[in-house]
Subunit: 404 residues, 4 copies
């Protein structure tokens, strides 16, 4: 049992930490002011490309990819502290080309894409030249139960025809978004987990239409955004189906595991930053003649946040280690555990930090309100807390005689 | 001990309920679409004036005012269930001319204003022709400790001169906002509670400047909004000081008590509506072959919400009854109790309802996201939870020997 | 809406409060020392009979009984504040002859007993000369679902024959316990709610055997106690069946409603006493140079306890008022609400008071450890929290379309 | 980063697990029946000596001691999973000679005792022939602030004279208890952390008197027990002072760190056992036609317990690793974190398991009620939660500018 990071991970930690501290955090305000000051909120402020170029130049690029040809070749547990550092700022993941959903889409193409798909779509994605979206969740069915999915991807000779309506397609609003990965029902008579296909769809394919952009607790998360997208008789050549028809669930399972833990890692960083801001406020602001830290239960709140964050980080690291050593199947319970526990914990820590800031915490004068929106959304995205708790309970009870 | 409402209150309950159900709720979506579809989000959609006219015509107008000359002459406990009904929709309070901060400002002018102030400002306010704001909180000091207040209202001969910066001036963005009530330091050498004055300031007075509008967790709450407002050498005749110099805290105390309980009443209605939406969703939406109501802990969450709301309502009603029978002084502890407890409870209930709705709960497709923003803000507005808990503890411990 | 107690209730409140303060609390320690110092812990210390005589003499006797012939003729809402006062000491309810399960048994006999049963058993019970037990819960089936009940009360000519095993028969250990009310299955083919009978069983009937006394979190609650009792071919004349065969559930429903609310009322008093002790400790004990009240989150804990108690009291009073005005049926949801909420709240408040006392709170130097055991047990007795939450949810959802 | 146990630890884990499963758990009931069936509850049932002999024979003895001469030579992180396994039964720690407070006293004597003290007291202690107690906490001062300590250990020529009153002296009731370690004030004028001494006191020294045994939430924890002990002019030779006068705090700090983490390790095992019992009950018991696991929020409660336990275990292991690699000083924050978090978590998990068991959970038919008492007590023993939260907050805030 050794809780020390590997020397390679340690070295990356220092470099990413330094980059976040010196390049990203000091310019976060500038970026947001630029974004909000633009006539078009759905354009990318030039500062982002500047930061991306700098990160790439320093070799801090695509760190999420365990594949050494395309990425840094880091294990999940090695990437975890780096993703945590990126999570400290809502703008940092893109700077390092490590933002969802592009990371998950890259993994899908890397593992399941054809050579042509990798060349045409994966490479520009990993270069940060294009962005992408993932179209899975649907407005009319409970997405917590993915077998409900109603959109279709039907074979018609050498073509596949897509129909249906998706929402919460994150990233679809980005001006560089060039393709989406769409999931739909191909063969309703196949085995429950072999019915669906994933299809790579260029966004300019006829029949693809962004119906509207959805706010998350008041935020549109520009320039990424979350879209409701309709697919009407969208026709693509059959080889747009990633890995072939009926492999949708198999690919999704492989995609969602890392996706979920990446979210949790970043959330830890978000909570750390929130706690830092809370501590700074608690020591700098006075009321009733004392710093806030010395009023009421504030110290206990800070201590409880520290404990909750440290426990959650260990939990995420342990899950990452399981992914590295036992694979996605060996980590399935741990993944559901962290996905059920971490966003809810971070929501609470951020909420505490908001409270410590008074009105400033509600506004956009700190990153806290954005963090609250993000943490809250992640209690639903990639499976609501309750579904993950159900998985954990099912695994726990499996060892006992169960009558139902 | 009799928990039944008076016949008069009961009759108003039925009328307000019917109005909300038949006039307001069915047109809430239309109002919001109009608001968001306008080129200028800070304009009032005509539907609002239509609804106001209808409510006024039916005698459902200014119900908050206990004064029979200007309002309905209802006691606080009689008004409570009406305010609850209005709280079911974020747009309803204005429809009945019962929205903050105009209600509080009306009470200030009614009780403390000169005849001229009442005629010039109170009457159009009560007719719903003009709107107003309240400028108390400041960005640079902890507003939880009001004695920190740094803005000044200095006498200069027959004039009073205002300087300082306020924020969270709710309502300042409304196109009909004509005046603000400003609070500032007049005499630093007076007794701690006699130092400040309240001044009635027409918004077009030279030196008054809206610096920016502040979002609350992503929402700007148009067309009301929350402003940061600077006052630079704003000169007004001395009789703009309400009730004379040094009476600011006295007036504020009288204003804040009813203001706080009105917020709590409306919050109860918000929680009821959230619970209704959650129950509807829990019975209509299915996953894993069952309605959500029959999955995981959802029924327990619904039951706990019901219990929490019922307890909170009784708490608010009891506090209202204390205000009616024992006055603001006799209700000071109860007021802090409900202010500390109700917004936090409602935040939890709404958060549960959001979760039950999945992604739809995060978006603006239901009123829940707006409710979450509002409930969260009310854990800070009019005193953060922690300050009210401090008041409750102080009163509780007063009977015991305390060394500190 | 009027939260004031009736003059009659107010007068009783003052008298009971004075009696508890001057007669009971000052002698609580003496009673407990006597009880624990006895060779036989299952004997009644003489002090109890002395206090009972005094209470009876002052007319503070059987206050729980709404029937004017036998009791004080108080409504449920009038009795509530009196039961709360009695709840301040674990020994007080018996002093006023208002302790469970004798109160519930008295109501059963009053409403459903024959003239002979009333004379022979009810009168000595109401005089405090005998005690009784209630034998409903069984060890081998989930008592949360009463239709599981396996014990039998089978008719055999002019006799009824009882067989089965009961546990948590509270009061069975008392030296004066003379009879139990037993519930068993009579006709398995009858309608689900008409299958069971209640039978009055003298404890010395052959075949009745106390197998053992059960501790509750380490406490045996002497001299009352909680027994596991076997019934083996216990034969009684048929008229021992209260109100006739098959009426068991009907009687139980009438018995359990008041029983549950009486528990909740007393729990409020227990929480008040715990909070008093916590406040006293918080002001008298110092650490790190300050009274505990000024350390960490202690003030917030005190404030939250005050709020929770006040909300719960109002909730209980409202439920009592519903019982008075709408009857048991009209109060069924409210009863489940308070039963699900109040014991859990009191457990938390007492736990907080224990923590404030350090080691002393764990020991029997304060009444807190006993309170903790009692409050914890009441989250299970008379229906576990979860069953009551289920009732509340079912009622809440009934208005909506439900598919399951 | 490697979460795998060392091969040596893994081998011990398997052996201890097998011993607990095959020797201890199957005989737990037999032990408790023997203990409670004895005329004298303060005698050791012979089964205990039988189990101790077996454990010692198998080399599963004194595993807590990192010192290879006396113990197994395991690091703290290696011992952690073993202590967890022992924590599954309240009787197991003694079986392995790894029970508090003997473990802590052994460490004190090993590190600070004279050769003579080690020979005369440490060796029989490590052989399990004698037991001991630790006399630190006092009834009249807040023990959370150890500098309050009022008992004295005054030098008088070649003797040291002890006076004062201690309580919560765990183990003092054991028939084999031969000595206590007493802490008292020696030099009030010395530096705050150099004023106190620790003295080894044979229990038969004149002037030592057990005043009474204290219950913990109704449990006396026989045959160990918790005593209130008076010391009246207890005279001992000066060399009874461990490590010499004034070293009390230094020794205490070294003693308490491992003591606290051992408690936390065992608590994790207690929680695991409680969760197992809850799962077994949830699958075997039915109500309303379903296993409890499928009712209400029970699955979510099980899932949350699993998550809480796994997070806490990782937290404890990380703290153990810090103790091994960074020493007591490097682990001070982590130690306070786990001590503040783990007992409270375990109290909740056990409380959930009690609830799942209904009345059986309250009684002694399962180990749960005893677990609840133990977990609750450990929120106070070795420093109340609040003091540890204060330490965590202080360390957290140290990096920020603090005005108070």
């Amino acid at each position: 049992m050794d809780f020390a990071h590997s020397p390679r991970a340690q070295e990356y930690i220092e470099r990413v930490a330094a980059f976040v501290d010196t390049e990203v955090l000091p310019r976060e305000r500038e970026y947001l002011d630029a974004l909000r000051g633009q006539a078009d909120r759905w354009a990318v402020p030039p500062l982002m490309e500047e930061l991306k170029a700098k990160a790439r130049e320093r070799g801090l690029w695509n760190l999420f990819l365990p594949d050494e040809r395309y990425g840094a070749g880091l294990g999940v547990a090695e990437y975890a502290p780096l993703a945590e550092l990126m999570g400290r700022s809502l703008i940092a993941p893109e700077v390092f080309n490590c933002n969802a959903p592009d990371t998950g889409n890259a993994e899908v193409l890397l593992h399941h894409g054809s050579a042509e798909q990798r060349e045409r779509w994966l490479e520009p994605l990993l270069e940060g030249r294009v962005r992408s979206a993932f179209c899975m969740t649907e407005p009319d069915v409970a997405s917590s139960d993915a077998t409900n999915m109603a959109a279709t991807a039907v074979l018609d000779g050498e073509e596949v025809v897509l129909n249906g309506r998706k929402w919460w397609s994150t990233g679809i609003g980005h001006p560089n978004c060039r393709f989406v990965i769409f999931m739909g029902l191909t063969d309703p008579d196949a085995d429950r987990l072999r019915r669906h296909s994933m299809v790579l769809v260029p966004v300019d394919t006829p029949g693809v239409r962004i119906e509207r952009m959805l706010p998350v607790l008041g935020y549109h998360d520009e320039p990424y955004g979350h879209g409701e997208v309709s697919f009407t008789d969208v026709r693509l050549p059959r080889d747009a189906i990633i890995a072939g028809p009926g492999r949708g669930f198999e690919i999704a399972q492989g995609r969602l595991g890392p996706g979920r833990i990446h979210h949790c890692m970043r959330l830890i960083g978000m909570a750390e930053r929130a706690l830092e801001l809370a501590c700074r406020r608690a020591t700098e602001r006075t009321a009733f003649g004392k710093p806030l830290a010395n009023l009421g239960g504030n110290r206990e709140r800070i201590a409880r946040a520290r404990i909750a964050i440290d426990q959650a980080r260990l939990h995420v690291l342990h899950t990452a280690w399981l992914l590295d050593t036992a694979g996605a199947l060996g980590a399935v319970g741990a993944l559901s555990q962290v996905k059920a526990a971490v966003p809810a914990m971070v929501q609470e820590v951020v909420d505490m930090a908001v409270q410590m800031h008074g009105g400033a915490g509600l506004s956009d004068d700190t990153p806290l309100a954005g963090f609250l929106s993000t943490a809250r959304a992640l209690r639903l995205a990639d499976g609501p807390d309750e579904v993950h708790l159900g998985v954990v309970a099912k695994l726990e009870l499996a060892a006992y005689r169960e009558r139902a």
